[in-house]
Amino acid sequence: MQQSRLKRVLILLAGWCVALLLFFPILWMVLTSFKTEIAAISTPPLLFFRPTLSAYAAVQAQSNYLHFALNSIVISVGGTVVALLLSIPAAYAMAFHPTRRTRGTLLWMLSTKMLPPVGVLVPIYLLFKTSGLLDTRIGLLGIYALMNLPITVWMLFTFFREMPHDILEAGRMDGAGTWGEVWHLLLPLTMPGVASTGLLSLILCWNEAFWSLNVTSVNAAPLTAFIASFSSPEGLFFAKLSAASTMAVAPILVFGWFSQRQLVRGLTFGAVK
C-alpha cells in the first residue's frame, strides 16, 4: 500500500519532468516573445520582466501575418483534403480486396518516407520551374498531399481493416454500390479514424518547412516561411523571431488542444483493445 503510493508519486513526478522538458522550449519561446530585444538576449536569462507587445508590433509592421496564415490554412487544408480523397479509395481497396501484393505495396509506400526529401529537391524544383508551379499555392498543396499520402493510406488501412466485412456485404446485398458502401457505411463507421488521420495530416502540413522554404518565396509562402524570414541577414532578433514563431504555431496549438481527444483516440485505435 505504502509502496504503491510512493511508486505512483514517482511516476507522476517523472511524467511532469518529461512534460516540462518537452514543453519548456515552447514556454521559453512564448516568454521571449513578450520581451524587448535587449531583455531577450540578456545573460543570465530573465525569468521575470515587464511584458511588452513591442516584438509583435514590430513583426506585424515588417510583414503581413494574415497573408501567410491564409496560405498556411489553404495549403494545409487543401493538401489534407486531396490526401484523404486519394487515400480513402486506396485504403478501401487494400483493406477489403487485398491481393498477394498488398503488403508489399504498403511497405513500398512507407519506404518512400525514408528517403530524405532533399534527395528529390533538384528534380522537383526543376519540374516546378518549367511548369510554372514555383511559389504557387497549388504547387505546395500538391507536394503536401503526396508527401502525406503514405501515412494517410497506412492509417486509414489499419482503421478500415477493423471494420467487419459483413456490414459492407450486407450493404452490397442492399444495393449499395462501391461508392455507396464507402459513403453510407465505411466512412460513418470509421469516422474517428478518418478524422484523426486528417488531423495528423493537417498538423504535418502546417509544420512542414523544407518544401515551403524551397519552392515558395512570397505569394504562396506559409507560416513556416514567415518564421524563417525573421532569422534575417541583419542578425538575430530573438524577441521578434519568438513573436513570429508564437503567432505561427498558435493556431495549430489551439486546434490540437481541442482535437487532442480525437487524436489520441485515433492514434491508439487498434493498439489498445
Binding site: D166, D174, G175, P188
Partner: protein
C-alpha cells in the same frame, strides 16, 4: 414465384484447390431448403456464391431459369441474413430496415409503410427508433430478418442465423422463422451445422461434406434412408451406432450373417449378393436397440443420460465398442448395470466398405409407406 438451380457449380479460392467440387441442386418455389454439414465443408461459400458475394468459378446459377452468375448481388433479388446480423450500427432500426429501399430511391411513404409492416410481423414496433447497440440478441436477429423482409426478395438466404443466440431463444426463433416462411410463402435457403435445426425446419435437407453433396432429401428420408455412412452418422441425434463387421456365407432363405467384432452375428437380407469375407458397416439407430434377456449384445452401462421423456444408455460392449441405446424415460437402469440388447435386423442399415449403403430386401410382412412405425420399417435405400 422463385426457383433456383445450381448446375455443376464449383469454387476455387486458390488455384488448384477446390472448396466446392461440383454441385447440382434444384430449389423449388416456396421450399425451405437447409444446407447442413460439418464446419469447413463449404456451406457458407455456397450460400455466398448464390448471394453474389463470391464469384462462381465454374458452373451456372439460375434464378427463375435465368443465368445470374454475372448479375450483381442486389439485382439478383435475394436477401441475406448474416450470422453476425451485420446491422448498420449507426442507423436506427427503422433506417436499417429501410436502407435498401432508400438506396433504390423509393418514396418515403412507401418505405415507411414497408418498414412498419415488417416491424409488425416481427414485433419490432417499440424499438424502431433505437440503434442496434441497445437491442437484445433476439431483437437484433429480428431486425436482420426485417431488413430482408422489407426488400421482398425472391429468395431468403440465412447463414447460421441462430448460432449466436442462447438455446431457449434459438428454439423460439426456429418456430418464428417457420411461421414467417408460412406467412411470406417465400423460398428460403438456410445454412446450419446443427442437424437438429436442419431436421426440424427443412422441407429439404442438403447434406454437404468437403464441398460435395452427400445426399438431398426430406428430413425423414435422410433419417430413414441415409445413402452413405457420412449421412448416417451426421443426421440423427443421438448418432446412429456404426459397427464394423464381416460378411459370412449366405444362409438359405436369403439372409446373410454379418459378424461384428466380439463375435456377435446379425443376419441381414441384402438386396444384392455380398461376397463372403467382405467388410461392411452395420448401422443401428439408438431407438432400434431394445433391452432383451436373450439379446446378442451385452455390456455394462457406462453412462445413463436421463432426458425425461427418454433415457439414453451408453453401453460398453464386451468387444470394447460403445453403443448408445434409447430406453424409456422411466427405465430403472443405472450406470454399471450389465444389460443385454437386441435389434431387429430388418431396421439395421448396411454400408459397404466404400461407405455407400447396401439396401436390404423387404421382408414379406413389411408395410411399405408407413414412415412413422420404425420398428416395422425395413431399411430401404435409394442410392
Amino acid at each position: 414465384m422463385a426457383t433456383l438451380s445450381l448446375r455443376g457449380v464449383r469454387k476455387s479460392y486458390l488455384a488448384g484447390t477446390e472448396t466446392i467440387k461440383g454441385i447440382d441442386l434444384d430449389v423449388a418455389d416456396r421450399e425451405f431448403v437447409v444446407f447442413v454439414g460439418p464446419s469447413g465443408c463449404g456451406k457458407s461459400t455456397l450460400l455466398r456464391m448464390i448471394a453474389g458475394l463470391e464469384d462462381i468459378t465454374a458452373g451456372d446459377l439460375l434464378i427463375d431459369g435465368t443465368r445470374v452468375n454475372d448479375v450483381d448481388p442486389a439485382s439478383r433479388g435475394l436477401a441475406m441474413v448474416f450470422q453476425s446480423y451485420a446491422l448498420y450500427p449507426h442507423m436506427t432500426v427503422a433506417d436499417n430496415m429501410g436502407f435498401a429501399l432508400k438506396l433504390a430511391g423509393r418514396p418515403k411513404a412507401e418505405r415507411d409503410a414497408k418498414v412498419a409492416e415488417a416491424a409488425r410481423i416481427l414485433q419490432l414496433e417499440p424499438v424502431l427508433t433505437q440503434r442496434p447497440r441497445s437491442l437484445s440478441g433476439g431483437q437484433r436477429q429480428r431486425v436482420a430478418i426485417g431488413r430482408a423482409i422489407v426488400r421482398q426478395p425472391r429468395v431468403f438466404l440465412f447463414d447460421e442465423p441462430l448460432s449466436n443466440l442462447d438455446a431457449a431463444l434459438r428454439g423460439q426463433m426456429r418456430v418464428e422463422l417457420l411461421r414467417l416462411h408460412e406467412e411470406l410463402a417465400a423460398t428460403m435457403i438456410y445454412v446450419t451445422h446443427d442437424q437438429v435445426e436442419a431436421m426440424t425446419m427443412a422441407d429439404k435437407i442438403v447434406v454437404l461434406h468437403a464441398g460435395r453433396v452427400e445426399q438431398v432429401g426430406s428430413p425423414m428420408e435422410l433419417y430413414n434412408h441415409p445413402a452413405n455412412l457420412f449421412v448416417a452418422g451426421f443426421i440423427g441425434s443421438p448418432r446412429m451406432n456404426l459397427l464394423p463387421g464381416t460378411v459370412g456365407a449366405a444362409a438359405p432363405g436369403g439372409t446373410v450373417p454379418v459378424t461384428l467384432a466380439g463375435g456377435v452375428t446379425v443376419s441381414v437380407r441384402p438386396a444384392q449378393v455380398l461376397a463372403p469375407g467382405s467388410s461392411v458397416t452395420l448401422g443401428i439407430r439408438p431407438e432400434a436397440l431394445r433391452q432383451a434377456a436373450d439379446g446378442p449384445f451385452s455390456g455394462a452401462a457406462l453412462l445413463v443420460e436421463r432426458l425425461g421423456g427418454m433415457t439414453l444408455v451408453h453401453v460398453t460392449l464386451e468387444s470394447g465398442e460403445t453403443l448408445v441405446a434409447q430406453a424409456d424415460g422411466n427405465d430403472p437402469i443405472r450406470a454399471h448395470d450389465v444389460i443385454r440388447l437386441a435389434v431387429d435386423p430388418s431396421v439395421c442399415h448396411l454400408f459397404a466398405a466404400n461407405g455407400l449403403v447396401l439396401s436390404q430386401a423387404e421382408p414379406p410382412q413389411a408395410k411399405p409407406g408407413d414412415l412413422h412405425d420404425l420398428d416395422a420399417m425395413p431399411s430401404l435405400a435409394r442410392a
